[in-house]
């Protein structure tokens, strides 16, 4: 098992903070800050993706460019809106993955068959946070993950960014228990007790360390993950091994 630390949820470029129960704001995430903070946190590689935008073709290309500049440090994810970019998703994502080297996709909105068909074809993981799109994780996840059992889904923030909805954390743990293709990302869980609960109730293979850097501080997020005090091999899985496996690396 590799002991490389991989942050599966970083952000780069301009846009708006992701929709959630808070107030969004314009952001321009600088890769230099992300890399500097990652180095201080002992993170070897970061999966980087755009913040929220209306459409994503240009943003994904910028992410691919950043990855080309920092091939040892960054792993690019595309972002797409299944609703606003409908009809073009397959063509765009095939190019982004096969030609531009992106390794996964984040869904801005509830994933549709159009998006999940190409995700399954490309055998890439998909990250989707239902918060802000009208439902708690359980309600939004069940049908989707049963319909696409070959696709690996990453549920960010243990189901609730900043622990805004505490019971969504428990829903997220239950989802990951129920479905072998649901994984939990650890960033932004302010009520740390639910991360502890997840670590106690789920096999280590189900947890992926993420930081949401630079919106959140990766030095703090990795501290919270290490505070789980998992045995060495399990901690290595959570901090990087699991993401590496999902990316097929």
């Amino acid at each position: 098992m590799s002991s490389r630390v991989i942050d599966c949820h970083g952000q780069g470029g301009s846009g708006e903070t992701w929709a959630d129960s808070g107030v969004t704001r314009r952001v321009d995430y600088k890769v230099e800050l992300l890399l500097q903070r990652a180095a201080e946190a002992g993170i070897d590689q970061t999966c980087i993706m755009a913040p929220q935008n209306a459409t994503y073709a240009d943003k994904n290309r910028q992410i691919a460019d950043l990855c080309e500049k920092h091939p040892d440090k960054l792993i690019g994810f595309a972002v797409h809106s299944p609703q606003r970019e409908t009809g073009r998703l397959r063509e765009m994502l095939l190019e982004e993955v096969r030609s531009m080297g992106l390794k996964g996709v984040k869904s801005d909105g509830h994933p549709t068959r159009e998006l999940l068909d190409v995700v399954a074809e490309l055998r890439i993981p998909i990250m989707y946070c239902p918060q802000g799109y009208g439902g708690p994780p359980a309600a939004m996840y069940h049908e989707m993950v049963m319909a696409y059992t070959s696709v690996n889904f990453i549920l960010p923030h243990l189901g609730s960014y900043r622990s805004d909805t505490w019971w969504a954390h428990i829903d997220a743990i239950d989802l990951a228990k129920r479905y072998s293709n649901v994984y939990i990302e650890t960033s932004g869980v302010l009520s740390h007790r639910y991360l502890v609960m997840a670590a106690q109730e789920l096999p280590a293979e189900k947890l992926l360390f993420g930081s949401y850097s630079p919106e959140l501080d990766p030095r703090v997020e990795i501290y919270a993950a290490k505070l789980l005090k998992l045995p060495g091999a399990k901690e290595a899985q959570v901090l990087g091994g699991n993401t590496q496996r999902l990316l097929g690396a």
Binding site: S21, G22, V23, R25, E40, R162, S163, D164, W166, I170, I173, D174, K177, G188, L190, S191, H192, R193, V196, M197, Q200, E201, S213, P214, E215, L216, D217, R219, V220, Y223, A224, L227
Partner: protein, 293 residues
């Protein structure tokens, strides 16, 4: 249900509030050697490390539709705080009640917990200026002068009744308002009272407008201080440290909902100058408490 609350919280949660006072709480084991009667952690600087924001106790919300609904309205076990704080060298924690309709009993409970863990907690009273209108002055004087509570926590806009008593007692007020601008209604009239604005103006950084408003408020009034608890957006968090004098920022955790080990680390990673960090982690709240623990 898949909850796996740790044993301590589950036990605490299962306790009826009817038997709590003089019952379970007084029967709580004194801390297992970490805090009871102990001095401060090994000296790291001029001041002890003091967490200025934590909740303890059991709610009394009978007849409301939010009784036993959310964890922050249900129970907060001091044992959890003791355990977390000991791991990272936090010397003292300011504690106050979780949600109640009226707070006389809850404040006695806080004073009882302070007594049960000597040298570990600093108790603040909490009151509802609307539900307890007309009773607060007498209650607060008794709570401070007889029960040894040292400050006041508020979730409801303070009235002159409350603030006049606070001013006379010379105690700080930690207030979590609906909007930061509400501070403007009373701060100018009470320049000698020290106010602490909870969560840097926005619980969980949910509203960045409010967090910026909090920084501006603290710039306008030297007697307004920001507590760092439940603030998480890196840019906004750091902005407060960059724009305000360190004397106006106080380390707080919002235990037991948040974890003081993580919230302390959020400040540590900033690598502030030692003198500033010492003020923020303990010196400032100690000053607001009159210089004595």
């Amino acid at each position: 249900m898949t909850q796996n609350l740790d044993g301590s919280r589950r036990d605490f949660l299962s306790t009826s509030s009817k038997v709590l006072l003089g019952g379970v709480l007084s029967g709580l084991p004194a801390d297992s050697g970490v805090a009871a009667g102990s001095g401060l952690s090994p000296a790291r600087g001029k001041y002890p490390i003091i967490d200025c924001h934590a909740h303890v106790g059991i709610e009394r919300l009978a007849g409301t539709d939010y009784d036993l609904t959310d964890p922050w309205d249900t129970v907060a076990d001091p044992e959890i705080i003791v355990r977390h704080a000991a791991e990272v060298g936090i010397d003292r924690t300011v504690i106050f009640p979780i949600e109640n309709l009226k707070f006389e009993e809850a404040n006695k409970e806080v004073a009882d917990i302070v007594r049960r863990y000597p040298g570990r907690f600093i108790g603040f009273a909490k009151h509802d200026p609307v539900n307890e209108k007309g009773e607060i002055r007498a209650l607060l004087f008794r709570e401070v002068r007889e029960l040894g509570l040292r400050g006041l926590k508020l979730h409801v806009q303070p009235t002159p009744e409350v603030l006049d008593a606070v001013k006379e007692l010379g105690i700080p007020v930690l207030y979590h308002p609906l909007r930061v601008a509400l501070f403007e209604e009373f701060v100018p009239s009470y320049p000698t009272v020290n106010f602490i604005l909870a969560h840097m103006g926005s619980d969980t950084s949910a509203n960045w407008h409010e967090q910026l408003a909090a920084i501006e408020l603290a710039k306008r009034y030297q007697n307004v201080h920001l507590d760092t608890s439940a603030s998480c957006i890196a840019e906004l968090f750091e902005r407060a440290f960059n724009e305000l004098p360190p004397q106006q920022i106080l380390f707080g955790s919002d235990e037991v909902e948040l974890d003081c080990r993580v919230t302390l680390e959020r400040i540590r990673v900033l690598k502030l100058p030692a003198e500033s960090e010492e003020l923020i982690l303990g010196g400032n709240i100690l000053r607001l408490l009159g210089g004595r623990l």
